[in-house]
Symmetry: none
Subunit: 294 residues, 2 copies
DNA sequence: CTGACTTTGCAACATGTGTTTCAAATTCTT
DNA sequence: AAGAATTTGAAACACATGTTGCAAAGTCAG
């Protein structure tokens, strides 16, 4: 499969060999690449003042099957460009095996989804969420079912940073007990994506009743959480396999931790060093498989 | 003529008034704006799993003449976005404040780290790990401390897919009990990065003694796990803040789930449908904050 | 000037498009 | 539980699509 730049190069290289009508069509394509992706070939032909058949002949002259191949490459180029992810220069190799093709596609999509979080609006939201969490008395962290990992990880890192977060989770249904002392000076960070766990929504309702601020990581502007949260970060969940992805949400969670740590770097560093000493003292880490005796 | 942001705002504003199918179409358009410009409405409807008529109804519901009006606006937005791409990228890098700069840098690095997993060698390893796991009697999943999220999520998704994984985790130190019946036909998937938890390494040693196969997600070719595992996938952990990132490892975990599901798509689909019915039957999900009585 | 070859316009073709209409299915109200 | 209203799926419709094939037009060599 060709890149649109590669196709562009090929058009330029063979321009002299083309008949006048082919040259007319080729020039129009070179000068209006995004229109190739956005309008039909017949409309493009009209705009270029050539016959539709000329476009098909041009594609075949260039060694392609038909005009659809031209459009597909310009469409893909526009997708990559619109995503704003400069590092993804290489398109997928033709005929990759099914398994690797799936893995490749999943990774490409994940990378793109995380890159999209770099948009100015998204960055501004991340800042506002971090501000809100930094100013809270206590931060309650809630993520159920598939979102558990994101909530747990946020809480884990924040405890290493010496922050007072409360993870609303626990065995034998005790997780919600953590909300007992919550009040208006506190904030709940809730992570939930479609399909939304009823218990998550119920706990958010409870938090609202107690005057707790809500900030949310969710999948859409039309999520029920988006309606009640003061601040929302939208995390893509679309996936090329059967279930939604939580990788962008984890990325966002880690970025929030980073922003919070950044607000008091000295304190965060001290807390990490203390945690490190504590864990070293407990012999928590090792750098090799222990040799077993007996 | 509306801007696509204005149309987006209108969709969000009126979302609650929409029927379930209109909401499904609306959500898909919000999440896939550039596809609106790049593919036909019938193809978009197929991807969104709605009837073509639904797309037309949505447009009319929004006060537009027909779907073409939706497409025209998203096309125009894409034209504007593509035109300004290079200039906006440069402005962002020059002007971003410290906080957003940190967030931007973290996201850029994460996106790049995941993109690097698309290398052929990495894809080949993913295939081999998936093969090994697919052929196992039982899969034991181990990830402690910061790696807990990745292990838990893998286990969670695999249970949805109907697979027999055992998560070596549990309260009151009981997690290791799951290893009691492990044997040579089983495989352990271990996730650990520097600093490596001693208990992780001890359990890996125990698994080796029992003849259990080991596959590892870890951070380096020189990780202690890399020395003892049959297959290794290297996940970057480098971060622009104080602590290592687990986002690439979660991405890898999800890709492995996808590859395993791909090996028996029909079975995976049936398992997910059964899980869905089961959870629906338990009233696990909701689409709005419940109204509290009293 | 003529014949051969190439280029080009145009129409037919099979298929896809967005919209409309109708009836079945679902939901809501009484 | 029944009737009304709304939602939805599916098919038909008119039109647009990209491609193919044929013949007219144009160009070039002898």
């Amino acid at each position: 499969m060709l890149q649109s730049q590669e196709l562009t190069d090929r058009i330029v290289a063979r321009f002299d060999e083309m008949s006048p009508q082919l040259q007319k069509a080729a020039r129009y394509i070179l000068e209006n690449g995004q229109e190739v992706a956005l309008v039909s070939m017949r409309e493009l032909a009209r705009n270029a003042r050539v016959q539709p058949a000329t476009m098909t002949r041009l594609a075949q002259f260039l060694g392609l099957g038909g005009y659809e191949d031209i459009r597909a490459q310009y469409s893909q180029a526009l997708r990559l460009q619109a995503d704003g992810f400069a590092a993804r220069a290489q398109a997928r190799e033709a005929d990759a095996p099914s398994g690797s093709g799936l893995a490749y596609g999943m990774l490409q999509m994940l990378s793109s989804q995380i890159a999209r979080l770099q948009a100015p609006e998204s960055l501004a939201r991340l800042e506002r969420v971090a501000d809100r969490l930094a100013g809270a008395g206590r931060v309650y962290v809630l993520g159920l079912r598939s979102c558990h990992s994101v909530a747990w990880h946020f809480h884990y890192v924040m405890t290493l940073l010496g922050e007072k977060t409360v993870h609303l989770d626990g065995p034998a249904g005790t997780g919600v007990d953590g909300m007992r002392r919550a009040g208006p000076q506190d904030v709940m960070l809730v992570i939930s994506v479609n399909p939304y766990a009823r218990q998550t929504l119920e706990l958010v309702g409870l938090a609202q009743d107690k005057g707790v601020g809500i900030v949310a990581l969710t999948d859409s502007e039309v999520s029920p959480l988006a309606r009640v949260a003061e601040e929302v970060v939208i995390c893509a969940t679309e996936s090329e396999t059967f279930f939604h992805t939580l990788t962008p949400a984890l990325a966002v969670s880690e970025v929030l931790c980073g922003l919070l740590a950044d607000r008091d770097r000295d304190r965060a560093l001290r807390a990490l060093q203390e945690a490190d000493r504590h864990l070293q003292g407990l012999d928590t880490y090792a750098s090799d498989i222990p040799t077993r005796r007996g």
